[in-house]
Amino acid sequence: MADRPAKRTPRPGAGPRLAVIEGFAGRRSAIPFALLVLGVLAAGLVALLMLNTAMDNNSVQMQQAQKKQAELTDREQQLSQQLAGLSAPSSLASQAAAQGLVPNPQPAFLNPTTGVVLGTASPAPTPSPTPTPTPTGTPTASGTPTSSASSSASSSATSSSTAGTSASPSTSGSPR
């Protein structure tokens, strides 16, 4: 074979010398490509993992938020019922009675701009011994708020009677 290249040697003076560089293509190392593939694969896996994590994280957050929302809704419902119970006419009436207040049988109005009294103003009737406020029968108005209000009410009623009014409410009064 040693004679073959000599055979191919072009004659001198016949243009640029061309030579085939043998065995270059295909000799490149396979490692970079393998690394690239592995890299892409790894990146894909990591991305997938992160995506899954993010999704799980979101769903956990959503669940927690929903739970919180449900709790807050329950609480809101509970509180608004309690408020409605406390501001119900029956509850207001019994608390007012406990403080020695009486309904006014003779409505009268004061016009603040002219100072004119409309209607016949007269002193309210003396309250009969006030009964202790009974639970109003509303399920939410029971418990601490009512009992604390009634205890403070009876104390303030006592102080008002010592202040010289004819009202003498007592919590131990007999029913009307």
């Binding site: 509970q78 501001s87 006419p89 409505p107 009268a108 029968g137 399920p139």
Partner: protein
């Protein structure tokens, strides 16, 4: 190394049997046919799957993957006039046990019972533990309701116990945060969540709303991401905003309860209306119940007596007769009438007055103020002198125009229209008694509406209980404006109104209805009460209907007490004080100041 000699290779020779080369073309063709055959099977199957059966498989797969969750619509509330709920639906959970499963899982009913008892009952922990244990131990059953309608908070605590065989079932309950406010009007919701009486029944379809649904793709119970959720949101029920003023309702309820207790009456009702809008602000009946505990109520207590109970109105109906006379132009408040001690109508019927008297010289105003039956009959004959049939027909037309004999228009279930026989059917005595309110029957709302008509310058506004509707998003839609009809002229109404002020004056029968500073108009009624159980007239119906301020009426109140016991049975002494109490409260509650004008003080005698 020595090798055995090898025989020389036979020389290639074309002379020997020729080795035939393969025919690649044929092989390829055969292979292709084989492959094509196999692929055609695949293809065929593919077509079968993807084209022919595709829909069915896809639907089956989707059904297998799809999870459905019902979204329950929240029932609307019944609101009072200020928008505060009277009846409100809240989340609640029934606690259900599967005793069979508990037994299979070797659960100990005693342990279950003691764990659960800490959370059940009201207050929590007050439940009967042994009853709970026996329910849980009954392993022949798979369904035992341990507690009805516990709050979501309690249920969460129970769920956290992780007891096998204990499940929760959504069962929203209706609560009454303001206590018993007009329970007979509001009505009840049954265990199926349907309104069974009152407004809850009348507006059930509006209040219930429409349940929604969430559908999503799930695997092993978990949502498959990115597949999308198909959510059909629940449409929450629409709330009904009533015209009921909780505070006036409460005051009316207290006042009538006290009076019925004091007089040992069979029944008492109070109706409060705004004459200008026809709005019913309060409707209280002594036969009532606690909506938080309706199980103990009798069927009478569950009804609404202000609409279902009818009674003979008595003298309160004289206002209609006098309106007819004045409108027809045959009398005026000053018409002078000689009222004899009795009126013999012939045919054996003699008209008497409440209290015996000699011959009196009363004006028409005086007849109303003293509530003379004889005077009312005598003047009513002037509607068509010497023609009883025509006079009866005219009277009937007015009674009917004022809304008697037909339903009030509230639309609540169980209303009785009362009885107003047509004029041609009136018997001899009835021809005379109808003019002063016997021989016909009305319900409390009808009677109050008559006075609202006079108060509203002769224009009858159909009574209404509903102000509007609040949908799930909080949007308010006003209810349709009630129908208005001119029954008598404004001038007639004014004259009758001034006469009714004389009733409440010191000379009239309704003095205890006076509110100092205010002009009050009204009329007492003391009717003979028909009682079926005694087969005739036994006892009385004491009533008072009136309004204030008389020259600018903003509130009309009717008080009806049926069957008061003892000697005190007059409308002026039984019902007028209740009117006074409720009216003076309602005037303050609604902020209605006195008008500052003077009552005309029409003459009573001549």
């Amino acid at each position: 190394m020595t090798q055995p000699p090898q025989p020389p290779r036979p020389a290639r020779s074309r002379a020997t049997a020729p080795l035939r080369l393969g025919r690649p073309k044929h092989r390829l063709r055969a292979g292709m046919f084989a492959l094509a055959f196999v692929f055609s099977l695949y293809g065929g199957r593919l077509v079968q799957l993807q084209v022919t059966d595709a829909g069915g498989y896809a639907a089956k797969a989707a059904a297998d993957r799809t999870a459905d969750v019902t979204l329950y619509a929240t029932r609307g509330s019944i609101l009072d006039a200020s928008g505060q709920p009277i009846a409100e639906s809240v989340d609640a959970v029934d606690v259900i046990a599967d005793p069979l499963l508990i037994a299979q899982q070797k659960g100990d009913p005693t342990v279950y019972a003691s764990k659960l008892a800490a959370y059940l009952g009201n207050p929590p922990g007050s439940v009967d533990v042994s009853a709970l244990r026996s329910k849980l131990a009954k392993s022949s059953s798979q369904y035992a309701v341990l507690a009805k309608q516990v709050t979501p908070t309690v249920w969460k605590q129970i769920k956290a116990l992780n007891l096998v065989g204990i499940t929760g079932n959504q069962d929203p309950k209706v609560v009454y945060p303001q206590g018993a406010i007009a329970p007979n009007v509001v009505g009840l919701v049954n265990s199926q969540g349907e309104g069974s009486s009152g407004l809850e029944s009348e507006y059930n379809s509006l209040l219930s709303g429409t349940d929604g649904k969430i559908s999503y793709q799930a695997a092993y119970g978990y949502e498959i991401p990115t597949t999308g959720i198909n959510e059909q949101a629940a449409v929450n029920g629409t709330s009904v905003e009533t015209t009921i003023d909780s505070k006036i309702q409460y005051a009316a309820q207290q006042a009538i309860n006290d009076e019925v207790a004091k007089t040992k009456a069979a029944l008492g009702t109070v109706v409060v209306m705004d004459p200008r809008s026809g709005a019913v602000l309060a409707m209280a009946t002594s036969q009532t119940y606690d909506p938080n505990n309706p199980g103990t109520a009798t069927s009478e207590q569950l009804g609404n007596d202000a609409l279902s109970d009818v009674f003979e109105p008595g003298s309160v109906a004289k206002v209609i007769t006098m309106s007819a006379e004045i409108q027809q132009g045959v009398t005026n408040p000053g018409t002078k009438v000689v009222v004899p001690p009795t009126l013999n109508t012939g045919d054996g019927y003699v008209v008497h007055d409440d209290t015996s008297h000699g011959t009196e010289h009363l004006t028409l105003n005086g007849i109303l103020a003293e509530s003379s039956n004889i005077g009312t009959d005598l003047t009513s004959l002037q509607l068509a002198p010497n023609n009883m049939a025509e006079r009866n027909a005219i009277l009937y037309d007015y009674f009917s125009a004022f809304g008697l004999g037909r339903q009030s228009g509230l639309g609540l279930p169980g209303e009785s229209p009362g009885i107003l026989a047509s004029a041609a059917d009136w018997n001899h005595s009835q021809q005379y008694t109808v003019a002063f309110g016997q021989g016909l029957s009305v319900n409390a709302v009808q009677a109050t509406s008559v006075y609202a008509t006079i108060a509203n310058e002769g224009v009858r506004v159909t009574p209404t209980l509903v102000k509007g509707y609040v949908d799930g998003a909080g949007k308010f839609t006003a209810a349709a404006t009630p129908a208005r009809t001119q029954v008598v002229s404004a001038s007639t109404a004014k004259q009758v109104s001034e006469m009714m002020e004389s009733v409440v004056s010191d000379a009239g029968t309704g003095t205890s209805a006076q509110i100092p500073g205010y002009r009050v108009a009204g009329k007492t009624g003391t009717a003979n009460r028909y009682v079926a159980s005694c087969g005739g007239y036994c006892g009385y119906t004491a009533s008072f209907i009136g309004y204030a301020p008389a020259d600018n009426p903003q509130l009309v109140i009717g008080v009806y007490v049926e069957g008061p016991q003892g000697g005190n049975y007059f409308g002026g002494s039984v019902s007028a004080p209740v009117f006074q109490k409720v009216m003076s409260f309602a005037l303050q509650e609604q902020g209605v100041p006195p008008t500052g004008t003077k009552s005309p003080g029409l003459p009573i005698t001549w």
